[in-house]
Each structure stands twice: as structure tokens, then as C-alpha cells.
């Protein structure tokens, strides 16, 4: 048998590997405190109290919550829009079809750095910079979206059919024209889908921005938890759920209205 060919694991290895994994899991569970019977029974009790406290939901604060939810939606919408406006040129700069490594590498590294930092951390940074309120939340969501949309967009541009790029380049256009007339329109389906996904995601992300004073319904969510008012918390969560469902339906509608079918009629039809 040649040395390069992989040998199937022996009988000993087939038994040892699952055993080692099981052992690693047990040790990890013990280290994180999930094998402590006292702690687990306490947790079960607390959870029961929490669930009991959720019902029935208390709608008395719905007007206040609705205003906060509206603010959350505005944070998500403006944040996604600003993030997209900033991400589009950066994604084009990161696109190997248009630029060499001297340009694409620093841009992809910048986007990776922006992505590495969690949205909540950006929110803290912007609360320090612009003060408490939705402006900080909007900037945080925008920056977070920039990191993700930038990466997803340049990957979408990278996936554009090379024949389309070659055909459009062949007319003698510049790189900017190639982006305007080939990359962006060809990737339009992907771009719309990404924007809808990012907006949906940002509605959820924006609903915890208030935890650090960056506006939206998160301020109330945290407050109700701290005051042990779980009945009000459930109302807020149900409102968030309702809004997310509505956005999901609207997104589906937008997709149907704007997206071009991927399949075209077969040649000769």
C-alpha cells in the first residue's frame, strides 16, 4: 500500500475517539457548572418562577412599547441603509475582478476587523461618542452591517458568471463601468436578498441596543428583567415577535416582486 494513501482507522481508534469525545464533554460540562446537582435544581426552580411570572402577559405598557418598537425599526432601517451605502464601494474595492491584491487585501482585512467586534460593543463605543439614544444604536448597527454586508457583497460579486464579465469587459469599458453595468445588475438578486436578510437580522439586533442605552425596545426589556416584571417582558417579546413575523412576510413579498428568476428559458425556446 502506498504511504500517501489514507488508512481507515483501526478498531482501537474507532473505540477510543468516541470515548475521548464523551470524556471531553463530561469534563466541559463539569467545568461550566452543569453537573452540579444543587445548581441544577436551583436553576429549575428559578426557571419555573420565571415562566410562571410571564403569564398572563400584561398589555398595560403596549403604547410605550409600540413607540420603542418603532424606534427599534428605525434604528434597523437607517443602520442597514447606511451600512449598505458604505459597504457597496468597499465590496467593489475588495472584488478581485476589479482590483489586484494590493487593494483587495487591506479592504478585506478592514471588513474582517469591523465584523469581529460585536454590535453591542459598537453600541457602547457610540454611546460614549454621541451620547445615549437611538443615534448611537443606528451608528452601531450601520457599522456592524458594513462589516457583514461588505463581505457578503464581495462574495456575491465574486460569484457573477465569468462569461458576463468577459463579455462586458470586451466592449472596452472601464472598471467602474464594469461594476455599474455587469457586477451590480448581475448580482442584483443576491443584493436584494442580502439587504432583506440584513434588515431582518438588524431588527433583532436593534432590539437589544437599549441594553446599553442605545435606544429602542431593549431599554424596556432590560428594565422589566431587572424589576422582575416578567408579565411586561412577555408583552414586549410578543410585540417583537409580531413585528418580526410581519417583516418576514413583507420580505417574502418584496422578493417575489423584485427578484428575477434564476432560470431562463432554454436556448432555442
Amino acid at each position: 500500500m502506498s504511504r500517501s494513501r489514507r488508512r481507515p482507522p483501526g478498531r482501537w481508534a474507532r473505540r477510543a475517539i468516541p470515548l475521548a469525545l464523551t470524556l471531553a464533554l463530561v469534563v466541559t460540562l463539569r467545568n461550566v457548572g452543569l453537573l452540579d446537582p444543587d445548581r441544577l435544581s436551583r436553576a429549575a426552580r428559578n426557571l419555573a418562577i420565571f415562566v410562571w411570572g410571564l403569564f398572563p402577559p400584561n398589555p398595560s405598557t403596549l403604547p410605550t412599547l409600540s413607540a420603542a418598537m418603532w424606534e427599534t425599526l428605525q434604528i434597523a432601517f437607517a443602520g442597514t441603509a447606511i451600512g449598505f451605502i458604505l459597504a457597496l464601494p468597499l465590496a467593489l474595492l475588495a472584488c478581485p475582478v476589479l482590483f489586484g491584491r494590493a487593494v483587495t487585501t487591506p479592504v478585506t482585512l478592514l471588513l474582517a476587523f469591523v465584523r469581529t467586534v460585536p454590535a453591542l460593543f459598537w453600541a457602547i463605543v457610540f454611546v460614549v461618542a454621541v451620547g445615549l439614544g437611538p443615534a448611537a444604536g443606528t451608528l452601531a448597527v450601520a457599522l456592524y452591517s458594513l462589516g457583514y454586508l461588505g463581505k457578503l457583497l464581495y462574495e456575491t460579486f465574486d460569484g457573477v458568471d465569468p462569461e458576463v464579465i468577459e463579455a462586458v469587459r470586451s466592449v472596452g469599458c472601464s472598471r467602474a463601468q464594469l461594476a455599474r453595468y455587469a457586477l451590480i445588475p448581475e448580482a442584483a438578486n443576491g443584493i436584494v436578498a442580502l439587504l432583506l436578510f440584513m434588515f431582518e437580522y438588524n431588527v433583532r439586533a436593534s432590539s437589544i441596543m437599549g441594553f446599553v442605552g442605545a435606544g429602542g425596545i431593549g431599554f424596556y426589556l432590560l428594565g422589566y428583567i431587572q424589576m422582575l416584571r416578567y408579565d411586561l417582558l412577555l408583552s414586549a417579546l410578543l410585540l417583537t415577535l409580531a413585528v418580526v413575523i410581519v417583516i418576514d412576510r413583507l420580505s417574502a413579498l418584496v422578493r417575489r416582486m423584485f427578484l428575477v428568476p434564476v432560470t431562463s428559458p432554454a436556448p432555442g425556446e
Binding site: V164, A188, P267
Partner: protein, 245 residues
């Protein structure tokens, strides 16, 4: 009537990365106003030859000259619009309208900033409309490309190429997906374009179409040129033999 060669490729060799050569020492000369067929089975190097002639790829050895000017692979820069290239699947932008796809052929001469704003001079737009009318799809200008039939899309690709005002038109297997009648219609259009002085080079694996529409043919097999002659001599049997030998 033979004239000065519009396209001269000499001694082209090319391989993708460190792989085996796709083309070995291939030469091609095409006279102005003629149709030259590059015949070969799949993988024989036809597409690579056309891309080298367009400047989309740089040969490891050999040169390409169009109207006496050496074609340099442009990297990511601008390519010469005098050589039009229609890839096998046409490379149309399916989210744009027919007219937008055709107007795109004029991008090489439209001011950059204006075109980035989506503004194209009225003259170019009118030329594009006239081109579509001439090719029989003037009534489809506002339709999206994805809604067209195969034959209509071929016409859009030809119109876009003609908007470049090319001296050389390179077309890669672009009728191979069509039914026989539509394919013949398209090739008749191409023949007409050559009649206006444009040098046409068509890559194909269809021997019958070569006999019917081409003035000259070269046969590629495994990256080597195994035959180069006018189509009038030798008949299609010789071509079939050259392909299989």
C-alpha cells in the same frame, strides 16, 4: 476577395497555471471581410484561442495582431473595442433590458461619469434601437433579457457586438444551443456582417455549418492546429477526418 489579414495570430502557446498546454504553437490568419471557422471537439482549445485573440488571456508564447497592432492582454484594464467577443453563453446581463444590453456595446466611447449615472447619449441609444430593428427584435427593446428565447438572445449579443463598431468579431460556439433553423438564421446574419467588411472568427464543432458559412477553416485537436485551408477545397469529409484522426 482576400485582402490584408485583419487578424494574425502566430505561434500561440498557452496553458492554465502549471497544467498541460491547452494550445501549442497555433497560428491563425483571417482576411478582412471573411468568416473563418475554428473547428474542434470540446477541449481542443477553441475558446482559449479566441480569448487570446481578444486579449482576455496572455499567451505564454506567440503574438496576436489586429490590423497590424499587437494585442496585449489588458489585465484588469480596458480592452480594445475594435475586437468584439461573444462568449458561448453570450454573457448578457439578464437583469437589464435588451436595449441596455445593446447600448453597453458603446461604453468604450461614452464618457465614463455620464455612463455611470446611467446616461447614454441619445445618438448611441438611437443606434442601438436601429440595430435591434435591423436584427428583427426592435419590438423587444424594453424586455428583460431573461424573458427572451434563445434565438432572440443571440440577436441581442450580436447587436451589442456591432455597437462596438468592431473590425473583428470573435464568436465562441454561439449557435451550438440553437435549433437548426434558428442557428442558420443567426449565421446568415453573421455572414452578412462579414460582407460589410468585418472579419469574423467563429469557434464551432459543427462541420456542416463550416461548409455552409465559412470561407476558411482551421481544425484544432488537443491544442494543435491540424488543418488550415479555405473551405472550398477538400469538402467536409476532410474536416471530419482531421477532427478524428
Amino acid at each position: 476577395m482576400p485582402g490584408r489579414p485583419a487578424l494574425e495570430a502566430s505561434g500561440l502557446s498557452f496553458s492554465y497555471g502549471a497544467g498541460r498546454p491547452v494550445l501549442r504553437d497555433v497560428s491563425l490568419t483571417a482576411e478582412a471581410g471573411t468568416v473563418t471557422a475554428v473547428l474542434g471537439v470540446s477541449g481542443s482549445g477553441k475558446t482559449t484561442l479566441l480569448k487570446l485573440c481578444k486579449g482576455l488571456l496572455a499567451p505564454q508564447r506567440g503574438t496576436v495582431r489586429v490590423l497590424g497592432v499587437t494585442v496585449a492582454a489588458a489585465g484588469r484594464g480596458r480592452l480594445d473595442p475594435a475586437v468584439a467577443y461573444i462568449p458561448q453563453n453570450l454573457g448578457l446581463v439578464r437583469n437589464l433590458t435588451v436595449l441596455d444590453n445593446v447600448v453597453m456595446g458603446s461604453l468604450g466611447r461614452v464618457p465614463g461619469l455620464l455612463s455611470l449615472l446611467g446616461r447614454v447619449p441619445d445618438g448611441e441609444r438611437r443606434r442601438a434601437e436601429a440595430m435591434l430593428e435591423r436584427l428583427g427584435i426592435g419590438h423587444k427593446t424594453d424586455e428583460k433579457v431573461h424573458a427572451l428565447s434563445g434565438g432572440e438572445r443571440q440577436r441581442v449579443a450580436i447587436a451589442r457586438a456591432l455597437m462596438q463598431e468592431p473590425r473583428v468579431l470573435l464568436a465562441d460556439e454561439f449557435v451550438s444551443h440553437l435549433d437548426v433553423l434558428t442557428g442558420r438564421e443567426i449565421l446568415t446574419i453573421v455572414k452578412g456582417i462579414a460582407g460589410e467588411g468585418v472579419t469574423v472568427v467563429v469557434a464551432t464543432h459543427d462541420i456542416e455549418l463550416v461548409g455552409r458559412y465559412a470561407d476558411a477553416v482551421i481544425v484544432l485537436r488537443d491544442g494543435h492546429k491540424v488543418l488550415d485551408r479555405p473551405t472550398g477545397s477538400g469538402g467536409t469529409e476532410g474536416l471530419a477526418l482531421a477532427l478524428r484522426r
